[in-house]
Amino acid sequence: MAAHEILAATNAVVTLDVALPGIVWPWLVTVNMWAKSIGTGVIFMLFMLLRLYPEQAGKLRFPTTVVSIIFIHIFLLFTLADLHQPFRMWHIFFYPHVTSAITVGAWMATAFVGLLFLLAFLSFIKKDDAAFDKTLTWVTILAIPVTLYTAALMSQSTARELWQMPTESAQMIFAALLSGSAFMILMSGSKLNYEAKKTLGVVLGLSAFMSFVLYMSEYIFGPMKAEEIAAVLEYIKGDGPYTVMFWLGQWTAYLLPMLLIVLSRASKSESILKLAAILALAGLWLVKHVWLMIPQLLPMS
């Protein structure tokens, strides 16, 4: 029975409920997720490029490490800014609760940052490519759970039915691949030839396609499974408060980049590929923001 049918049947109206404030994870958390996607995504891309195009990708070792360090620090900064007691952050390390994805994520992110600085040392000061590549393998492996832990955290948010673990983890990985490939297209400049950039375009296009398929699957089939999901998705349907932002995000992050990548391959245009990358990065923020906000609008009482 759909939510509106239940409402018609009960004929009940809430006349007093001093509900607690709804949005507790604001846009700061969107930036957190967006920046982390780029921070780990570029590492995935560097790992791939060093295997497919070792000659050209060699020049990207240090710049990619720097980009990853910057975006992981943006992620950490916004994580800290979102805390109501940021000066107690150290409690996570001294009073850890290991069932929490936040705790495990904080530890992994810390180890990840340490390894990124090691990569920077190996590429910039020691200039040891062999040691860099060996370390990069471990950094890439660690980047997977660092990417995924936010999905575990969203899954542990029992109150928010929309965030299911298998879907969220797939979305997180695709977001990292999308933003990583997009950022690499933009930052590689003349260091990569068109063939290498075309490969990045394929990664971008496929991850955009898979993300779009996942969102549409949830959009269409989610309401058939759970009353709460149906109610949450009403916020992005019809006159819902996030309908425009949701579709703007889907077009900007996924549909337009997919079309532009096809176009760039047909016309062998790097400019179109770069436009696709810019749109994907901007759209990803919108998509993530909508998905973060809408479950928080649902009354819990």
Binding site: I6, L153, S157, S301
Partner: protein
């Protein structure tokens, strides 16, 4: 010992005495509530009635807030109460996102999570929670669920078949029960929230810091 709560909704008359007693006892700041009473109007005029549902932390056996808390600020006491250590809380709001009952909030004064503790400080001194004492019709029944002779155990025994919990599908195993509850009182999605139908039309909330 496993402490639990039961509210007999047949008895509750929506006086909000429990709400005020809780506010005073726990010094709950303006715009936040550890315990609140929800009013839902049912039916069409002239066949209408008003239902009252006191809502507080459910002190779940499988508490999502305890699981998600990164620093064990939310923790179980030996008597089953899910307690909070405000000195340890880092204010990540993970518990607020995890609680399916919307029972946790960020205290605007301390900038930490807060919720009903079944008045753990009073219980430690062998006193009843403030809301139980304040209820004029004894709709709030509090006691040890593991003691078959306790009031709450006897009440549950007497009302078998009519005892419910909120959102059982979440698998949280709440230690907070309702007698005489129904879809309208316990399911937030079963009632419409229409603009202009609220008894309080201008509810303001205090900022809880930063951009939140």
């Amino acid at each position: 010992m496993q402490l639990g709560f039961l509210v007999d909704l047949h008895l509750c008359m929506g006086c909000k005495g429990c709400e005020i007693a809780c506010k005073v006892e726990n010094e709950v700041p303006l715009s936040t509530w550890r315990l609140r009473v929800k009013y839902v109007d049912v039916g069409s005029f002239p066949e209408t009635r008003r239902t009252f549902t006191p809502l507080r932390c459910n002190h779940c056996e499988n508490a999502p807030c305890e699981r998600i808390c990164p620093v064990s600020a939310l923790h179980y006491l030996e008597n089953g109460i899910v307690n909070i250590d405000k000195e340890r809380c880092i204010g990540c709001a993970g518990c607020v996102m995890a609680c399916p009952y919307g029972a946790i909030y960020i205290d605007p004064q301390t900038q930490t999570a807060d919720k009903c503790t079944y008045c753990a400080h009073r219980v430690a001194s062998s006193m009843m929670p403030a809301c139980v004492v304040a209820c004029p019709v004894q709709a709030n029944i509090f006691g040890d669920l593991e003691d078959p002779m306790s009031n709450i155990s006897k009440y549950i025994e007497k009302n078998q078949g009519n005892v419910q919990v909120r959102k059982p599908e979440k698998g949280t195993n709440p230690h907070h029960y309702y007698v005489g509850g129904g879809n309208v009182t316990l399911n937030p999605l079963a009632s419409a929230r229409l603009e202009g139908h609220s008894l309080f039309t201008k509810i303001t909330t205090l900022p809880v810091g930063g951009h939140h």
